[in-house]
Amino acid sequence: MEKRSFSSWLGTFIPCFLLWLLLTWSLELREIILGAAVSAIVAWFTARFFIHKKPFFLLNPVKWVHMVVYAVVLVVEVIKANIAMAGIVLSSKCKTCQSGIVLIPAGEDIKSDYALSTVSNAITLTPGTITMDVAEDKTGKNYYYVHWLDLQETDPEKAGEMIKGTLEKYAGRIWK
C-alpha cells in the first residue's frame, strides 16, 4: 500500500469519472458536477489500493489496443473451456474425473501485481481451473497454485502450457 499523492488520486479520478459519464450518458451540468464529486470522494479513499507506481498507465492508447486483443483471446479461451466443461457435466465423467492442485510457473514478463492478478483471474474465469494462491520463491519467480478439475498433466511446465496457453503472453503486453 502506497502513500496518497495527488497524481495517484488523479489517476484514479479520471477512470472513475469516465465510467460515470458512460453510465449516465448525459452531459447535463447537474450530472457532471455530481459525478465529479462522487469520483473525487471514491478516488480519495481507493487511490492507494489501485495505484502503486505509475499513476497514468491506463491512459495510454497502445495499452487499449493490447486490452482489446487480450479480451478477444480470453473470450475464445472461455468458450473452448465452457464446451469442455459442458462435456464433463453432461456425461458420466463428473463422478469419475480425477482432480488435483498443480503448481505452474508464471512467465518471465509477468512481474507486477497487476499482471499476476490479471492472469490468475483469467485462469479462474475459464471453467475447469481455479487459481488458489500465488507464491514467490527466493529467486523472485512467481508460481500459481491451480485447482484443475480434469487433471491431465502433473508436470509443472506442461500443465502451465495447457492451462494458460497464449493468455499469459497477451496479458504480459498490457502490464509491461
Binding site: 458512460l22 466443461m85 459442458a86 463428473c94 480425477q98 483471474n121 487433471l151
Partner: protein, 112 residues
C-alpha cells in the same frame, strides 16, 4: 437479426442450465464451484450479446449497448475473485474431495 438474438439467448440458457446441473451433479464442493463458473461466463456473455443485438435491432442507441458491456465487465471482474476466495476457504477448512487429489502441491506451501 431476430433469429440471431434467439440463437444467442438459447446458447446462454443452455450454458446456464449446464452450470446449474453441474452444481447439482458434482460430488464435492470443488467440482460444484468449477461448474458454477459456466453460468457467470458463457451464460452472461451470450445473453449480453443478445441484448446488444436487440438494442441495435430496436434502435435504442449506443448508451444501452455501453451499459450492457459494462455489466458484462463487472460480472467477469467479480466472479473469479469470489470463486478464488471460496475454494481457498474450503481447502483451508479441510474439506475432503470426493476422490483424493491426484497431486496436491498446495500442501507443501501450507507447511512453510
Amino acid at each position: 437479426m431476430i433469429y440471431a438474438i434467439y440463437v444467442f439467448i438459447a446458447i446462454g440458457v443452455f450454458f446456464s442450465f449446464v452450470g446449474t446441473l453441474g452444481v447439482m451433479r458434482m460430488p464435492d464442493v470443488y467440482g460444484k464451484l468449477q461448474a458454477s463458473t459456466c453460468i457467470a461466463t458463457m451464460g452472461t456473455l451470450s445473453i449480453t450479446v443478445a441484448g446488444v443485438l436487440y438494442a441495435i435491432h430496436a434502435g435504442m442507441g449506443v448508451s444501452v449497448c455501453i451499459k450492457l458491456a459494462i455489466l458484462l465487465l463487472f460480472v467477469w471482474g467479480t466472479n473469479p475473485v469470489s470463486n478464488h476466495a471460496l475454494i481457498k476457504a474450503a481447502y483451508k477448512m479441510g474439506v475432503k474431495p470426493y476422490k483424493e487429489f491426484k497431486i496436491d502441491s498446495y500442501k507443501e506451501e501450507e507447511k512453510k
